[in-house]
């Protein structure tokens, strides 16, 4: 019986495809609990990212901020999405402020990822807080975003913003804004 020479090659290609398709999907999933409800009564103002004392590049901070504005607009969960400094936000009655603080950052390398596959991942961990105007925390989550295989380092910021938006969408919300509707903090 003849064994095909293409067998190992096919297995190899299949393994790569599985790695390329399944694992990014896995990294995109975020541990979150709560039922899916809309928070259409709220508007949100996205504040600039606080990198603390971490050596996070300014371009990464800007990329997270811009991607957050984009992703929150896409979810259509908020009536309006404002940027920091937008004076129209002061006229909106039900406004939440999104504060993002970087907690952990691992600088990766695209070349190292391409050569080794297992190392060189860019990883970001942030704490996202939704606060009312008077500083009460409505929602608080720790979210991860990374790029492990394909794509540039900045792609980690896109994945992170998408995960934050997804987390907010999957979290339980007070439907109509009110002083008694504030949720307990779930870190």
């Amino acid at each position: 019986m003849k064994t095909s020479k293409c067998g190992p090659l096919i297995a190899w290609v299949t393994a790569i495809l599985v790695t390329a398709v399944v694992l990014p999907l896995q990294s995109a999933t975020v541990k979150s609990s709560g039922s899916e409800t809309s928070a259409t009564g709220w508007s949100v103002q996205v504040d600039q990212v606080d990198a603390g004392t971490l050596g996070l590049s300014y371009s990464f901070q800007v990329a997270i901020y811009e991607n957050l504005v984009d992703e929150l607009n896409k979810t259509k969960q908020f009536q309006q999405v404002f940027r920091e400094g937008d004076h129209r936000a002061s006229e909106v009655p039900n406004l939440l402020v999104l504060k993002t603080t970087v907690e952990k950052y691992t600088a990766g390398s695209e070349t190292r990822r391409a050569v080794t596959t297992v190392s060189g991942a860019t990883k970001l961990t942030v704490r996202s807080q939704l606060l009312t105007r008077d500083g009460k925390v409505v929602l608080e989550r720790t979210v991860n975003g990374d790029v492990r295989f394909f794509g540039s380092n900045l792609r980690a910021t896109h994945n992170l913003a998408r995960n934050i938006a997804k987390t907010f969408k999957e979290s339980s919300w007070p439907d109509s804004p009110g002083p008694t509707a504030l949720l307990s903090v779930q870190p």
Binding site: L54, G55, S57, Y58, S59, D86, T116
Partner: protein
């Protein structure tokens, strides 16, 4: 003594002519240089600054990850994709500028697929050499409502400095220290 005897008056006249000639020559050379310099200054003043660039994200009304031209025209910073109407921001609205760098794999998706399909780890060897350094230029600007925007551009190595100098010459402030390298090593940072 067979040297011709020249009267003293005639010698003085010759000397005067020589000096006058030299002065005229110097004046002509100076005028020529001044005119050339003026011409160059006029040319640089009238020619708008323009540079090929890739817009990564954030510039209002511009598509992400697309190549185009960044130019400074009058009081505006304009990004124009090939033959399409450009997106522009007033230079006075730009609040901050930051220059960093990044090493990226070249070839995009086709190259990535090709490398993945190459047998016996050939793709990895290619990856080892198929990377290029770029300058990453980050701008922070405000829109008409006061909202803060950030825009990230990618340029060939060394070009970022040129754009930064042009913008700082026009009054844009750079409050962040330029980052020479952040992606070389896999470093972990933690806020506690």
């Amino acid at each position: 003594m067979d040297q011709p005897v020249v009267p003293r008056n005639q010698r003085n006249v010759r000397r005067f002519h020589r000096r006058a000639g030299m002065r005229l020559l110097v004046a002509l050379i100076w005028c020529g240089l001044a005119a050339a310099a003026q011409n160059t200054t006029q040319q640089t003043a009238s020619k708008p600054f323009s540079i090929p660039i890739t817009h990564l994200l954030g510039f209002e009304n511009a598509k992400s990850n697309c190549s185009g031209t960044l130019s400074i025209q009058d009081d505006f910073l304009q990004f124009q994709q090939n033959r399409k109407p450009g997106a522009q921001v007033k230079i006075g609205a730009v609040r901050d500028i930051f220059l960093g760098d990044e090493s990226k794999q070249v070839g995009g998706l086709p190259m990535t697929l090709g490398k993945a399909a190459a047998p016996f780890g050939g793709g990895r060897v290619v990856s080892l050499f198929a990377h290029k350094k770029y300058d990453v230029l980050t701008l922070e600007y405000v829109d008409s409502d006061g909202g803060i925007h950030g825009a990230i551009f990618q340029l060939d190595k060394g070009q970022g400095d040129v754009v930064k100098h042009e913008l700082t010459a026009l009054g844009v402030i750079s409050s962040h220290e330029d980052q020479s390298k952040h992606s070389a090593a896999e470093v972990k940072y933690e806020n506690k």
